[in-house]
Symmetry: C2
Subunit: 455 residues, 2 copies
């Protein structure tokens, strides 16, 4: 392994320029205009993997293609499936980017580009690790499969059917998912829990057309006002979610988890300063880390209605709408929560408006077994590369595939993400720290080595 690590270090600039190549492809899965770019990104990965002798293919789906590859020459050794996604989030508001989102720019020891941390940089870590081990040793210590999808940012609508239809093809002993972050730069961590997601769009329709707020104001329900009232009623004064049944299936935190979370270095003043807020706001009775990792939320992701241009327009809008999503914890179910939310919104709507709903993608919450041998192999790998054993934490985000892999393939998910909490996923100026990138490749190589020794 020393020679492998040496080779990884000597190849740093190649890894770096290869990363830039993929980051330059604007593979925004939600934007129909980027369809061709999605194909470019998929082909780039295919070509890369083929060059390494990984038997690879692009598998069409009703949406964006899956790139699949396998290298199965380590007879008797475990099989590891690496999951990643090559699609990225939209970039708006574009004007807030300091450098263009698809022109990777290096500063402050990081590469700034959409998708750098989420998830192109993180998936390439595993590809480059395999590349250098193959170059150095001519083989791999495990049987390795790559499953790289192009629809993670739109809810992976075609991934679950694909997995269900390919249980044998994807059979493995563990899945590695690198789509998450360290607790902090100095505190390497591994996730054993993630929140799920339910996402509902509600449109509130009032009068048949926009009305003059003078001629009609005061006698007609205003959809924007009605929507505000409905949203306001979805939390109580303790910032608990005021939807009957919402908490029924919430698994309460165990005492040892609360203790573990409380022992982590968390600096509220620094956290607030980072976010640019003077005060935090969350469910009463829980610490910030508990709120983020182990409590469900309901957030307005977007709201609109009436006139939002410059100046003033005295309109009583015909409709208003909001995108509302809930982060879920075990054992909440996304469909059940969406049902409860819709039901509550219908109850809250005043008589003068009608509601329409659009359901967006959801995902199950995930909770893993931290004592699993492959999870422990991952921990050792991180220790080797970063010099510190990772702490076991939970995460606030959603990686719905984790739960899918666990339930469909019946194998553990090893969450080896090496992003940093300030990577600005989904925001302008997304970045990926270059130390994390290069050390991440070493960690991925160590993981293949450690996993290969699991009996």
């Amino acid at each position: 392994m020393d020679k492998v690590i040496e080779r990884i270090r000597q190849s740093a600039s190649t890894h770096r320029s290869d990363l830039d190549e993929l980051l330059r492809v604007p593979s925004i899965s939600s934007n129909p205009e980027n369809k061709a770019d999605m194909e470019t990104a998929a082909k780039w990965l295919l070509t890369r993997m083929q060059k390494l002798g990984i038997r690879s293919e692009i598998i069409p789906t009703p949406g964006h293609s899956i790139v699949y590859g396998e290298h199965l020459e380590a007879e008797g050794a475990p099989t590891i499936l690496v999951y990643g996604h090559y699609d990225v989030q939209p970039v708006d508001p574009l004007e807030l980017w300091d450098t263009p989102p698809f022109e990777p720019s290096e500063r402050e020891g990081a590469v700034f580009a959409r998708g750098s941390s989420d998830d192109k940089g993180q998936l390439l870590i595993h590809l480059f690790a395999a590349q250098e081990i193959l170059a150095e040793t001519g083989g791999l210590p495990v049987n390795l499969k790559f499953l790289l999808e192009g629809e993670e940012e739109v809810g992976s609508p075609n991934l679950k059917p694909f997995i269900e239809a390919n249980i044998d093809k994807l059979a493995c002993d563990a899945v590695v998912v690198s789509d998450t972050s360290f607790f902090s730069r100095d505190v390497p961590s591994m996730l054993y829990g993630l929140r799920g997601l339910s996402y509902v769009e509600v449109i509130v329709r009032g009068p048949a057309l926009d009305l003059h707020s003078g001629e009609f104001g005061g006698a007609v329900a205003n959809p924007a006002d009605a929507l505000a009232r409905m949203i306001a009623a979805l939390h109580d004064d303790d910032r608990r979610i005021a939807i009957p049944g919402f908490y029924d299936k919430v698994r309460e935190l165990e005492g040892r988890e609360r203790e573990a979370f409380a022992s982590l270095p968390y600096d509220e003043a620094a956290y607030k300063k980072d976010l640019g807020v003077e005060a935090l706001e969350g469910e009463a009775g829980f610490t910030t880390l508990e709120q983020l990792w182990a409590r469900p939320t309901l957030e307005v992701n977007g709201i609109w209605g009436g006139f939002s241009g410059e100046g003033a327009k005295t309109v009583l809008p015909a409709e208003a709408g909001a995108k509302i999503s809930c982060r879920l914890v075990p054992d909440q179910n996304p469909d059940e929560i969406s049902d409860l939310l819709e039901k509550r919104l219908r109850e809250l709507a005043p008589a003068g408006v009608r509601l329409e709903f659009i359901r967006h993608h959801g995902g199950n919450p995930f909770l893993a077994e931290p004592d699993n041998v492959f999870v422990k192999a991952g921990a050792r790998a991180i220790n080797k590369a970063f010099g510190k054993m990772p702490v076991l934490v939970r995460g606030g985000g959603s990686v719905p595939v984790t739960e899918t892999f666990q339930s469909l393939l019946g194998v553990p998910c090893v969450m080896m993400g090496v992003g940093l909490p300030d990577d600005r996923l989904h925001s302008p100026n997304e970045k990926f720290d270059l130390k994390q990138f290069h050390k991440g490749i070493e960690a991925a190589a160590w993981f293949l080595h450690e996993a290969g020794e699991v009996k």
Copy 2:
């Protein structure tokens, strides 16, 4: 007068095509791109008036120009000042127009175009009345002044200073304002009261940038949610406005007014059907007409924040905003109400957000003396043209200049608007009924005749 009326009827098609000419000019005062169109509309009016022998001029202001004209040859007769505005509202949402807003289209006995009723059609009524009287008799029964502004839809910021600086030039015995509607097609009416306006934009800022709703949701105040809570708290369950002091100066309806309103034909079922709503919503304890004409309101004219595109984005928005306006009744003051609203919003804002305010134009409420001789002359004129004495009503909208004229020039305002309640002012498919247009010209001619006889 019979010959004048005959001539007006014979010139109907000319009036019609002249109206179309002016309607084709997209004179949107709030849109900087339409600056040249504003000048085109002003010049069109100037040329028209000059052709009639009205001494006219375009008077620049810091914003859009005022078109002023006078015909002062009726020695000893009263002086009437006609007020109108040649600017129009924006047209969005454009896709809801059945025909383009600046291509006048005739159907169902009406002309459809932005500005047809508000206010180009209505101001031309007076110009065409003068035109035909001049053509028939060579003179006018009154001294006539025209004051046509280009900034009514942006709050007339330069009109009041202009009036203040030109008290002598604008001296008159009565002002005619034709920017309002009949109670219904079959119930001609004249307004003696209008609501005022206060208009505030609030921006709620939370985290320094859009955050990932999974990574941060549950611990940070969400500006869109905070805004919804603040808006919801601005009304109580009786739909009274929950701002301390808001109602302090509200002049209560007199018993005779409540009786008069109650005697008007008002069909709630038809009203709801017209609006396309199943239920109305307004301040408890007041009828719909009372709510619309004599009670103050607080409406959300626009709301925005976060992601409103197609699909789903799991963002916790950095900011959200709303445009909020209040319709005011005597003796509320726009600045005082804006102050109270801002104060209340600051009180309601949770600790994790900061507020920023933009004040848009406001206007005082207006209440006139229905027994004035010129108001009565207007009533007789409407009776002559439409065959029915108008009922005296109040209006829900704001024509802030009415109060300005009354207080600065010390003369009554005669509200002779002949629009119809379904003209869709400020909405897609604005229209002006052609019978109202042509009969309106007759009414305007009769008014000049009747006003000329006032001693």
